[in-house]
């Protein structure tokens, strides 16, 4: 039902582009359930720092991952412009805290470039590839390892 795997065969995919710090990222729109404003989260004990806590999404308990901290780009300070992108990751629903949603992109798979080979663990873990859009670089994010391992193992 979701399609985080950007190597899927469809010719043209749509992506939700967002900003974390100074960098731009995008995720496949098929995996995005909704986009909502920031509400204070209830912290979880012993959670990694990038798990901000949990919020109430119409009766369901939704964990919030600070993508800035997760990507090692520094914490995302929640402002009125901050948004939570609610995405499906496998069977789970997770909220991603980002600075702003910037765009909806339509792009073909062919125009995806492989991730430039740099010595960044973050890039290796989370970036599937990059798009060049109007001289900007937008990294395609793979969300499989956004949640902590312990949480995934228990799920």
């Amino acid at each position: 039902m979701q399609n985080n795997d950007l190597t899927a065969n469809s010719a043209n995919n749509e992506f939700v582009a967002f900003r974390v710090g100074a960098q731009e990222f995008c995720v496949d729109i098929m995996g995005v359930r909704e986009i909502r404003g920031w509400t204070p989260a209830t912290p979880l004990p012993h959670a990694p720092s990038y798990v901000r806590g949990v919020i109430n999404l119409r009766g369901a308990v939704l964990p919030i991952v600070d993508l800035g901290l997760r990507f090692g780009l520094g914490p995302t300070e929640p402002t009125p412009r901050s948004v939570i992108i609610v995405v499906h990751i496998h069977q789970q629903v997770v909220g991603l805290l980002v600075d702003a949603v910037s765009d909806i992109l339509t792009s073909s798979e062919a125009s995806m470039q492989p991730t430039p080979d740099i010595a960044s663990d973050m890039a290796k873990t989370f970036v599937k590839g990059v798009y060049a859009v109007d001289s900007r670089m937008i990294s395609i994010v793979t969300l499989d390892s956004v949640l902590p391992i312990s949480a995934k193992a228990a799920a």
């Binding site: 204070p40 209830t42 990694p48 798990v51 109430n56 308990v61 799920a155």
Partner: protein, 727 residues
């Protein structure tokens, strides 16, 4: 047709459980005639339905089983323990066959040929098998009253009378929801009967009045009862049928005589019975819902206390009769119930939010808004309780399955074991019942395989050869407590200890109390069986059992006395959806502590708190010292421990009975909260059982008191930190 088929199998399940219940009662020697009849009826109904669906294997097996039961019923066979063993195993086979037929699986006759032969042998007298009456099941859609020709060889007693009964129902009989088949069944109970249906009055199809009555029956009954008893059978159709009863050359009884005798018969049976005995509405429902003669009939049998004969019987002080349910039921898909429950959950949250808004708006306590809201609150709670009651199920079916498990494992291991159950009527949430089946099955296997000794060893130890496994359920302070105990050898502690050391689970020089050793059984990777047997060693250990129980919000504890047996005790929440909790504040966060865990709340004085070790603290409560746990630091909400004199202590008791004091900043209130899963979208969090949503729409966490106070908590903590840095 598929729907009718489904109904048939649903009813088969009910019949099977009725049958098993009755057989177990017979096995214990509590077999009165009604019990035997109930078992016979159940098997008979299954056979009848199976005939309608052309399930040949099922019909054949049910038939020979039924024949054996019939002999018991008529007193030709007296149940012996050996015979009951065969009967119980036949019951297992029958339920296997039903299951296989339901799933459309291939039936391999070789699998049950042995038992089928054993059952047949029961009715074989002196090597000569009795000639079986032909099986006659022609379900008819026109009339529920087609006679069921259960023919019994007549016992030749001297005081026997022969009755000839002519019975011609009038349309009113059917209009009043009476069923002729039930009358025949009652007659059949009085003695050997033979009924012939006269269908000559049935007009051509285009002239048939669907509400008409066209059949009449001539019945020959051999029985030792008086004529009044025979007439009593027809008591409820008085005036609704043309009836003559002749006996042993006596003159035909006049209608006036019948009326007099009927009045007499009615006089002897209290009016309450009469009201009970004609549940017209109930039967209409069942007929309308399942317009299928066989199914409807079997349903009616399960529900009705129809005739006075039975009513008199069941009024005897007899627990078996009480098991016959007299309530009417409807079948509802669980999805619908679950949807309703979710909606009610949302309603509860919404109502809490509304209450909070009203408090914030500062209405006067006597204002109509506040009063109206209080009423709403009460209604909400009542709705919630009613909805939860829909999901509640007795543990009886679960326990019944276990009795089969005990039989099978006992056979496979060559042991003699009896399962005794108590409190089967205890009700608990359906999900709890379902998810309890697997751990319980495993524990039963363990109890029989490892707990109970072989008959020789038992006899040598001065115990009866037959071991007893006892399974009990009871409600205790808002939870259900299920205990499984055996009278076996108990836990072999030296062996358990040695095994744990061998497997590297504990250091060789570790000091362990008896209960510590018992609890080693719950460690992952532990198994004492020298060879992995096909029964207990299926790759699941007691650690899995413990985890399943914990996943249900339950606790399991073990106690054992060498030579006397072991007891596993499980305490589970009644429902997985709501929880009575105490809302507390810790480091600016709201947490919910399950009320069931809290023994009392205290305001600690500085002098009552003592340091112990480097950073441990204990609190003295009436001269006993209990560990003091700072919830804030334990959960990592703050670095420095809080000052006890500025806090509130909650004295909590864990499943194992250990007492600890939890230090929190303040108590907010007591409330009922709707449990929301953390695992669904995140994962398990050490020390946290689940989440809930507060009146202001924020998420609050529900504490897992046991995990919070357990010694292994520190290790879990380390594990979490380790995971956190990975990835």
């Amino acid at each position: 047709m598929a729907e009718i088929r489904q109904t048939f199998f649903q009813e088969c399940e009910e019949q099977l459980s009725e049958m098993e219940l009755g057989l177990l009662a017979m096995d214990e020697g509590n077999a009165d005639s009604e019990t035997v009849n109930a078992v016979f009826r159940a098997v008979h109904s299954i056979k009848g339905g199976a005939g309608a669906f052309k399930l040949t294997e099922l019909v054949q097996f049910a038939h020979s089983f039924e024949t054996a039961l019939d002999h018991v019923r008529s007193g030709k066979l007296t149940p012996t323990p050996e015979m009951m063993k065969i009967m119980l195993r036949a019951a297992d086979v029958l339920s296997d066959l039903v299951e296989a037929s339901r799933d459309g699986r291939e039936i391999n006759e070789a699998n049950y040929a042995g038992i089928a032969a054993d059952v047949k042998a029961l009715t074989t007298v002196d090597g000569v098998e009795e000639v079986e009456e032909p099986i006659d099941f022609q379900p008819t859609v026109i009339d529920f009253g087609m006679p069921e020709l259960a023919i019994e060889p007549a016992p030749t007693a001297s005081d026997e009378h022969e009755y000839r009964i002519n019975f011609a129902p009038r349309p009113e009989l059917y209009a009043n929801a009476n069923e002729t088949i039930l009358i025949f069944r009652e007659l059949n109970r009085l003695g050997a009967m033979q009924a012939t249906c006269d269908a000559s009055a049935v007009p051509a199809l285009d002239e048939i009045d669907p509400n008409g009555a066209y059949f009449s029956w001539a019945v020959q009954l051999k029985s030792d009862v008086e004529i009044a008893a025979v007439r009593e059978v027809f008591e409820f159709v008085d005036g609704e049928a043309d009836l003559t009863i002749e006996t042993d050359g006596q003159a035909e009884v006049s209608d006036a005589d019948i009326a007099a005798l009927l009045a007499q018969a009615l006089g002897t049976s209290p009016p309450a019975d009469e009201a009970n005995a004609s549940p017209a509405i109930a039967e209409t429902i069942s007929v309308e819902a399942e317009p299928e003669p066989v199914a409807a009939t079997s349903e009616a049998v399960a529900e009705e206390p129809v005739a006075p004969v039975q009513a008199v019987e069941s009024s005897k002080p007899d627990t078996k009769a009480a098991a016959i349910p007299t309530q009417t039921t409807i079948r509802v898909e669980f999805d619908r119930v679950d949807r309703l429950i979710n909606l009610v959950g949302e309603l509860v949250i919404n109502q809490a939010m509304l209450s909070q808004r009203v408090i914030e708006a500062n209405f006067a306590g006597s204002s109509s808004v506040v009063i109206g809201l209080e009423e709403l609150e009460q209604l909400t709670r009542e709705i919630q309780e009613s909805v939860m009651a829909i999901r509640a199920q007795p543990v009886k079916p679960l326990f019944q399955r276990m009795s089969r498990m005990v039989r099978e494992v006992a056979d496979a291991t060559g042991k003699e074991v009896k399962l005794k159950t108590e409190g089967e009527a205890t009700e608990v949430d359906k999900t709890v019942v379902e998810r309890l089946a697997e751990p319980l099955t495993h524990m039963i296997r363990n109890a029989v395989d490892h707990g109970i000794e072989s008959p020789e060893v038992r006899l040598a130890a001065g115990k009866p050869a037959e071991g007893t496994v006892r399974l009990t359920a009871a409600h205790r302070s808002g939870r259900i407590v299920i205990e499984l105990s055996d009278d076996g050898a108990g836990i072999n502690r030296p062996k358990v200890r040695a095994s744990a050391i061998n497997k590297g689970l504990i250091p060789a020089d570790m000091q362990l109390s008896d209960s510590d050793i018992d609890n080693l059984l719950f460690l992952p990777g532990f198994s004492t069986a020298a060879t992995i047997s096909s029964i207990s060693g299926r790759g699941v250990g007691m650690d899995v059992v413990k985890r399943s129980i914990q996943a249900l919000g339950g606790r399991i504890s073990i106690s054992s006395r060498p030579g006397l047996g072991s007891t596993f005790s499980m305490s589970l929440p009644l429902t997985l959806a709501v929880l009575d909790g105490m809302a507390v504040s810790v480091a600016g966060q709201t947490l919910v502590v399950p009320l069931t865990a809290i023994v009392e709340t205290l305001k600690p004085k500085k002098s009552e708190v003592h340091g112990l070790g480097s950073d441990g603290r204990v609190m003295s409560i009436r001269d006993t010292f209990v560990p003091l746990i700072d919830v804030g630091t334990q959960l990592g909400f703050r670095e420095t421990p809080t000052q006890p004199e500025n806090s509130v202590a909650l004295l909590v008791e864990t499943g194992g009975g250990a007492r600890n004091a939890l230090l929190v900043d303040s108590i907010q209130d007591q409330r009922q909260v709707v449990i929301k899963s953390l695992e669904a979208n995140y994962g398990t969090v050490a020390g946290i059982a689940a989440a809930t949503i507060l009146g202001d729409g924020r998420v609050a966490l529900i504490l897992d008191v046991d995990a919070l106070v357990s010694k292994s908590f520190e290790e879990t903590l380390v594990g979490e930190l380790h995971y956190g840095t990975g990835g």
